[in-house]
């Protein structure tokens, strides 16, 4: 357990890794919006989607995220993808008319296939974006970013510091708790507990024999931790200085401006229903949607 990193964080030193977690978080949100905006014309959807996709791929490359990592995150969702495909094929969108394939009496329309492709593309982009964030940002840094964004909530007496402290302590203890779980499992297995097989009643007992000790130990831990924190002068309501400061740099500003531009562009294009392809190439739409 001790060698593993939490979640997807991969300790490289790329430009993206060095960026401020606050900007990365904000850019994630903005990019998600850009990914989800739709267009009236199918062509535009795919062209814009394609552009954003290439952008995302570039960032993936820069952050040294391996395609293997991407695929393993997608693997978790492949069932959902298959279900989506099936639903879209079985329930074609309204006005579907161009038949792509006929299986017996069943017609599979191009529109269905396009729709499915659109959804899958969006999903892949969403997952890639999230992966970029989690692979390049330590969980603790994300917590600091969240804490910063929650700052205005302090005005309504929302306990932002306490929550951030709780999350950071929880993160610090995850490896410790995992070790403890292993130890308790070993101890109970040595007493004849079978964690894999057995009737429902036995399985429940097995889980109890794991959860109860973990909980009791967690309570004791909390008490000792609270004592240690108090003895070291901790007072969540009092003023404290900070050791770790987040550093907003040039790359953060530039990237943020870039992303804001893209997202704004996407929204405007969608709302104004501008069809670039038509405008640039002066090709009538009916030719394109073939």
């Amino acid at each position: 357990m001790k060698g593993m990193t939490l979640g997807r964080y991969a300790p490289f030193n790329t430009v993206i890794h060095r960026m401020d977690p606050r900007s990365k978080l904000l850019m994630l949100v903005l990019m998600m919006v850009a990914v989800f905006y739709g267009y009236q014309s199918q062509v535009m959807t795919f062209v814009m989607g394609g552009i954003i996709f290439i952008l995302i791929l570039t960032i993936l490359l820069i952050s040294r995220i391996s395609l293997k990592q991407l695929f393993s995150s997608l693997k978790a969702l492949w069932i959902m993808i298959i279900i989506l495909l099936i639903i879209n094929v079985l329930v074609p969108p309204i006005g579907a008319s161009k038949i792509a394939l006929s299986i017996g009496t069943y017609n599979i329309f191009w529109e269905s296939i396009l729709q499915s492709a659109k959804i899958i593309l969006r999903l892949v982009m969403m997952i890639s974006l999230t992966l970029i964030l989690t692979a390049t940002t330590k969980p603790l840094d994300l917590t600091y970013a969240l804490e910063w964004y929650m700052y205005p909530l302090k005005l309504i007496k929302f306990p932002t510091h306490e929550i951030a402290m709780t999350i950071s302590i929880a993160l610090r203890f995850i490896p410790t708790l995992l070790d403890e779980t292993m130890r308790i499992m070993n101890a109970q297995a040595s007493r004849g507990v079978d964690f894999e097989h057995g009737k429902v009643k036995e399985k429940i007992k097995a889980i109890l024999s794991l959860i109860v000790p973990l909980f009791m130990s967690a309570f004791q831990r909390s008490e000792e931790l609270a004592n240690a924190m108090e003895a070291r002068g901790y007072n969540p309501r009092a003023k404290r200085t900070r050791y770790r400061n987040l550093h907003w740099g040039i790359s953060d500003t530039l990237s943020l401006i870039f992303v804001i531009t893209i997202t704004t562009g996407v929204i405007v294009t969608s709302v104004m229903n501008w069809n670039f392809i038509e405008m640039i190439f002066n090709i009538p739409t009916w030719v394109v949607i073939l």
Binding site: G3, I184, S190, R191, G192, S209, V212, P213
Partner: protein, 286 residues
């Protein structure tokens, strides 16, 4: 039948970037009815070694034979009845008090026997016997384990394994964190079990305990077995003793020896015999 490790190796997280070879080419035998101590620095593989004894871990290579049971990666050689093995070999891990979970002490101790098919009455009887054995009388039976002190909880946890009546008892640092009196009482309990025929295997850092209780010592270092010997032979070595702590008794013996007073080490097992040996050596000098 002795416990036998044949060419046992074990690697954690094999075939991943985190792979770690904890045991390498281990060959050893532990005799029936012996009191064997397993010693070595933290990280030498002691814990990994003992987990092979009841099948919690299966050797990456080689096999472990305990009576008629075989723990091995080889499906043809491997015993199907791992669960039975877990009744034969009782393992008490470090800080076992963290495994308690039932509502009452007796229920928790009876949990093990029930898992092995005993009826409620039989399990409770074994539980009561085991609890009395560890020095917890009937007043403790219906109390909640979480109301007890740390030392009492540890004894309940140990009773939980003793209730299975294992013929081989494996203990991983049973005295860790106990005060000297608690440690002494605990060791007395294990010695009693040993005298009654239980094979005891003790993983420990406390060399004083090794000297006082064990008849065999297995020294491990970096995943390998370096030596299998007796406590006397181990502590009488000239070398650095694998960075193990020397028992106080022997530290003093060495001090005397350095200054010219040589004692017959075979005669020294405790303080009293040390005193006698010193007097004898001085008498001889005159």
């Amino acid at each position: 039948m002795p416990i036998k490790y044949t060419d046992v190796s074990f690697t954690y997280n094999d075939k991943t970037p985190f792979s770690y070879e904890a045991l390498r080419g281990v060959n050893l035998e532990i005799l029936d009815g012996s009191f064997t101590a397993i010693v070595g620095k933290t990280g030498c593989g002691k814990s990994t070694l003992i987990q092979q004894l009841n099948g919690l871990l299966i050797p990456s290579e080689g096999e472990v034979a305990v009576n008629q049971y075989v723990v091995s990666k080889n499906r043809k050689r491997r015993t199907k009845k791992i669960k039975e093995l877990r009744k034969l070999v009782g393992i008490v891990f470090q800080f076992p008090e963290y495994q308690l979970f039932e509502e009452t002490v007796e229920k928790d101790v009876a949990f093990g026997p029930k898992n092995f098919g005993l009826s409620n009455e039989e399990a409770l009887k074994n539980a009561h016997d085991a609890l009395r054995l560890v020095g917890l009388d009937d007043t403790f039976f219906k109390r909640s384990p979480f109301d007890l002190s740390g030392g009492e909880r540890r004894r309940v946890a140990i009773a939980g394994i003793l209730a299975l009546k294992p013929s081989i008892l494996v203990l991983d640092e049973p005295t860790a964190g106990l005060d000297p009196r608690g440690a002494r009482e605990m060791m007395k309990l294990f010695k009693g079990l040993h005298d009654n025929g239980t094979t005891v295997i003790l993983v420990t850092h406390d060399m004083n305990i090794v000297l006082e209780y064990s008849d065999t010592v297995i020294v491990m270092e970096d995943g390998e077995v370096r030596e299998i010997t007796t406590p006397l032979q181990l502590f009488n070595q000239e070398n650095d003793l694998y960075s193990l702590e020397t028992p106080l008794l022997y530290k003093f013996v060495k001090l005397l020896s350095d200054q010219g007073l040589k004692l017959n080490l075979n005669e020294i097992k405790d303080i009293e015999s040390l005193g006698a040996a010193i007097a004898k050596a001085r008498g001889n000098k005159k």
